[in-house]
Amino acid sequence: MELNRQNIRTYSLLGSHRTFGQIALEFPKIDDKIVILAADQCSPAGLEYFRDQYPDHYYNVGIAEQNLVGIAAGLAKEGFKPFVTAQATFSTTRCFDQIKINMGYMNFGIKIVGLSAGLAIGQYGATHMSMEDIALTRAIPNMVVLSPADCTETAKALLAAAKDSRPTYIRLSGWMNNPIVYKEDYDFEIGKAITLKEGSDVAIIATGTMVYNSLKAAKILEEQGVSVKVVDMHTIKPLDKQAVLECSKSKLLVTVEEHSVIGGLGSAVAEEIALYKEKSRHLIIGVEDHYVKPGEYNYLVKQVGLSAEQVAERILKVL
């Protein structure tokens, strides 16, 4: 499908969760074996259109995430390609054993679309925040873990996943009126990081919503004479090792994610560079190891220190 200025902006306004509902309308054209299973999340995912247009390709399993992934495994075994969806936190932590056994151990190519990851629905409290989903899913063998930067990349990642046979977790972060990183169509390949900006002093590897904030942080830093490279690591697993290697050559390597500092992108990069003979220091920026009180999205981003200004400030402090 064609991505143009108008649908890119429409997706950004809808937010990544409801962009899913729009892109899903393309799935039957890509592969008739694709089915979508929702755990009582039809409307948050904007799937009403899919449900009405393709009722035979759609199941709602109710508020039952373990059964969601289990049923998907049964369908996958018989040759179908299930996309399953629920809020990011419930679609990962609530059914982790099902993910491990069905998607890891048995390697069924189920795609989990985790809605409103990170702080997106943090107004509902820590129960609805998803800070561990990258850590959990990437610990499972066979899994592919995608974390698109904006709604354009959400579209690209979903379309790529629809054509891919591997078990995949697609982490959709950010809220409505999601800032746009990709203003026009571009080449997206699972496992291949995208350098958005070159720079020589600091290399930022960011994922999800933090790609946009990192670009903004880079601008702030450049005003102070610091040259900053920014990489969109949309695929956490398999990690683009070449991209990490190149970033490790700068004076300071920074990872930024709207996820716990334990087990996410920062950890994945740290594991990769651990044995490098020559490497820069590595600053891991993410959500520290604690819970925050509920609040509106932009408030929470500041509470956990992930606004562009705060990211820039933290980088300056260790530079």
Binding site: Q6, N7, R9, R18, N177
Partner: protein
């Protein structure tokens, strides 16, 4: 094309209605102007007038008439 023509045209194209219907439209009057159609309209208006709308304005734009009022905040005159 005048601003009013551009504005009306966005409604006509997004919701596939004639001009007369467009001018009387309110949010959710027709199935095409649902929550997704709304965002499509906003994107079309932003593109047509080369503006970026605030979240509150996006939510407030609940009818053809109200929209004109909101766009005037962005210096667009009808």
């Amino acid at each position: 094309m005048s601003n009013l023509e551009k504005y009306t045209n966005a409604f006509v194209t997004c919701f596939e209605v004639d001009e007369e219907t467009a001018k009387r439209l309110k949010y959710q009057d027709i199935s095409a102007w649902d929550s997704v159609g709304h965002m499509g309209l906003i994107a079309a208006l932003e593109e047509a007038f080369d503006i970026m709308m605030e979240t509150d304005d996006i939510i407030d734009l609940s009818s053809f008439e109200k929209g004109k009022e909101i766009l005037s905040k962005y210096g667009i005159e009808f």
